[in-house]
């Protein structure tokens, strides 16, 4: 019954999204929604490893950027179509995630977090020195001609991002509610005990890091066409890594819908703030919300709702 409800809402969201591209002629919504959805995929991906498995990834921007530069490189070299680019970014970042997974064999906790940060910085230096994709100077990526069944390219990108966001959420939901999710939760709580209780910890961690990497890469793949000019500064932007952590933290890391709620809320606030108040305050909002939530509501919005329901239930009962 519950499954039906989820897939039904997926269907409704996708149809509504498609109808929106046909009805609305206000491109602004497509642009802002694109950015929010990009954040959502990153948050959902981060949470598969961070929230479910308990390994903090500080280098989300690195995975994102590898996705971005996969597109840049393959587009420049072969002019491949977007779906192929997405797939390639997913595969390459998935492999990067797989490598990160093997890193967890030796590195736990904070060490793993620092290793991801260092990896992102090494990747950035490599891209800075990789002339083919423009190096530190950046490069232009022109939007391809033609936009499939859509009126213009941004509608195509919007719809693509919507599908990807839904897919990412579905993957995250599958991982958390299946036996894999149980195993990941056990790893998060105590890896040694999990292994001794028969949980194939390495295999599950590899699944987790690979899924995270692939999703982050896919989130980055369409980015060059969105901004048309890519340089390492924008691809490796710190704010990408910060949002990927802040969104799940604010929404709630324990369940699949936590990062979705966090991303929609924080993303909407950020986008609104961009067009209403100054962006300095925008960054301040992220910082203050993050600090407030983790000090006062460590389980995020989801936790708040659960507590409220519990209290209500206790009062009624």
């Amino acid at each position: 019954m519950k499954i039906d409800k989820f897939w039904l809402s997926v269907l409704v969201i996708l149809i509504a999204g498609f109808a929106f591209t046909k009805l609305a002629d206000n491109e602004f919504y497509f642009f802002t929604t694109y950015v929010v959805l990009q954040g959502l995929i990153m948050a959902v991906a981060w949470n598969i490893l961070g929230g479910f498995t308990g390994y903090v990834n500080f280098g989300s921007a690195g995975f994102f950027a590898v996705g971005v530069y996969t597109t840049v490189a393959l587009n420049k070299a072969f002019g491949l179509p977007l779906p192929v680019l997405l797939l390639a970014a997913g595969v390459i970042c998935g492999l990067l995630g797989l490598a990160a997974g093997y890193l967890t064999l030796r590195l736990k906790g904070v060490y793993f977090a620092i290793a991801t940060l260092a990896t992102a910085l090494v990747l950035e230096t490599i891209v800075n020195n990789w002339k083919f994709v423009g190096g530190a100077a950046g490069t232009y990526v022109l939007q391809p001609k033609g936009s499939f069944i859509f009126d213009n390219y941004i509608e195509l990108l919007f719809m693509l991002m919507l599908v990807l966001a839904v897919a990412a959420t579905a993957i995250s939901r599958y991982l958390s509610s299946s036996r894999i999710g149980q195993g990941l939760a056990a790893i998060r709580d105590d890896e040694v005990a999990a292994e001794c209780m028969g949980v194939p910890t390495l295999r599950l961690k590899l699944i987790s890091t690979t899924a995270m990497g692939a999703l982050m890469g896919i989130a980055g793949a369409p980015f060059p066409f969105f901004v048309t000019f890519v340089d390492p500064v924008s691809a490796f932007a710190l704010v990408i890594a910060v949002n990927a952590i802040a969104m799940p933290m604010i929404g709630g890391t324990a369940v699949w819908y936590g990062p979705v709620i966090g991303a929609l809320l924080l993303g909407a606030i950020q986008e609104t703030a961009t067009v209403t108040i100054s962006s300095e305050l925008n960054l301040l909002i992220v910082g203050v919300m993050l600090v407030l939530f983790i000090t006062l509501a460590p389980k995020g919005i989801v936790g708040l709702i659960q507590d409220y329901k519990k209290k209500k239930g206790a009062n009624n009962g």
């Binding site: 602004f28 802002t32 950015v35 190096g135 100077a137 232009y140 924008s234 961009t274 300095e280």
Partner: protein
């Protein structure tokens, strides 16, 4: 007299009238709206904020003259936080939600380029502020860029430096090239590299260094060891300061040193570096030399300097702000001359006209860049320690190039 007591009915009637008047004024006011995104936070905010002050001065000036096409000019602008990914959203908001009448660009290549696809689709005239060769890729015939780089921006940028060098005797034979790892600096040095090859110079050092390196002493030492006649550097404020200090500390002995160092144009940095600057030949766009005293620029700077107080931006406003004023001046003049907001006609007018602006006469080439380069090469002279006021007066930054605005001749080699 008889005291008149207002009856409740009358109050309601008055309120109703107020309401009618209020609603009768359409939510879309008749003001002419110019929309843009600007880097008000993030790495480029220093320039973005200064540009905004200049733009608002233009708005006040034009409104005092009765606005554009008889309509008062309003700005609608958002902060892009120097983040390219925010730019497309902002321009779509400006065009679709705010329904602005005209658009101009944010500051810098990274923030201009992401707006191009939207602007092009709508066929709008796009005045741009300090983008480096953005139109090389887009080839959009309604794009106009105000930075006086010249028709071949990447090469014209450093042309002056090399023209000066080749006029000296003995002619310099070798060159060291150094760039900080980010777009502008790399492009500037790439241009310099082409000039050096064209002129048959020996390139004895050619490296880049990471953006924001804390210490560049080692880099400067390697350059000094390479013992080149010319040292051409493309760098950002942090790197520029470090390199100038290191060059002094280590006693760099090149004949010419400078080129594309961003930051040496700003008063705060000039004050800190003081006499260390002497002899450096670097690019600039506007300095208070008599040869650049174009009509209106003095008045503009007076207003700017008053407006900049306490805003944490450059106090004098030499380098960028006059151009931020001028790119609106060009657009305003064109709209006035065409007499409508017909984008095609405006673009055609801008293409064929030489504009009189606070940065002098401006004529655009086919690709939307200045038809002729006016990237200045200035040399620091007689700079005293710890004195900021000296930079607001002539004589400290001598214009060596181009000859049309030359205010003095080069001291060569740069340090005895």
């Amino acid at each position: 007299m008889i005291k008149k007591v207002m009856s409740p009915l009358r109050i309601i009637a008055i309120l109703a009238m107020v309401a009618v008047v209020a609603f009768a004024v359409p939510a879309q006011s008749k003001n002419l709206k110019i929309g843009f995104s600007m880097a008000l936070t993030g790495p480029l905010a220093g320039a973005g904020k200064a540009a905004l002050i200049a733009m608002q001065i233009w708005k006040d000036d034009i409104n005092k003259k009765g606005g554009l096409l008889g309509r008062k000019v309003d700005f609608v602008f958002y902060d892009d936080a120097t983040s390219p990914s925010k730019v497309p959203g902002i321009y779509s908001k400006l065009l679709n939600v705010d329904k602005v009448d005209l658009v101009v660009s944010s500051y810098g290549t990274n923030e201009i380029s992401p707006a191009m696809p939207i602007i092009m689709r709508k066929g709008l005239v796009f005045m741009s502020l300090f983008g480096l060769a953005v139109n090389d890729k887009f080839n959009y015939d309604r794009y106009f860029q105000i930075m006086p780089a010249g028709p071949i921006p990447k090469d014209d940028w450093s042309r002056g430096f090399f023209n000066l060098a080749m006029a000296q005797s003995p002619k310099p034979k070798s060159i060291a090239l150094l760039a900080e790892d980010a777009d502008f600096a790399l492009s500037a040095v790439a241009g310099a590299r082409r000039h050096a090859k064209r002129l048959g110079m020996k390139i004895v050092y050619d490296k880049t260094f990471p953006f924001g390196s804390p210490d560049v002493t080692s880099v400067m030492r390697a350059i000094k060891a390479a013992n080149a006649d010319l040292v051409y550097v493309g760098s950002y404020p942090g790197g520029s300061v470090g390199l100038v200090k290191a060059a002094n500390e280590l006693g760099l002995k090149a004949k010419m040193f400078g080129g594309g160092m961003v930051g040496l144009q700003f008063a705060g940095i000039q004050k800190n570096l003081g006499p260390m600057l002497n002899g450096i030949v670097n690019y600039d766009f506007w300095v208070p030399e008599p040869t650049l005293n174009f009509p209106g620029v003095k008045e503009f700077l007076k207003k700017y300097q008053a407006g900049a107080k306490g805003k944490g931006v450059d106090p004098f406003g030499h380098y960028l702000p006059p151009y931020a004023y001028a790119y609106l001046q060009v657009l305003g003049d064109a709209v006035t001359a065409v007499g409508s907001l017909d984008q095609k006609k405006i673009a055609a007018y801008i293409h064929k006209t030489t504009f009189t602006t606070v940065v002098g006469p401006v004529k655009f080439a086919k690709n939307g860049e200045w038809a002729k380069t006016r990237t200045l090469q200035v040399q620091f002279r007689d700079v005293k320690a710890n004195n900021i006021g000296q930079f607001n007066k002539p004589g400290k930054r001598i214009v060596l190039y181009p000859s049309s605005v030359k205010s003095g001749s080069i001291k060569y080699p740069y340090k005895q």
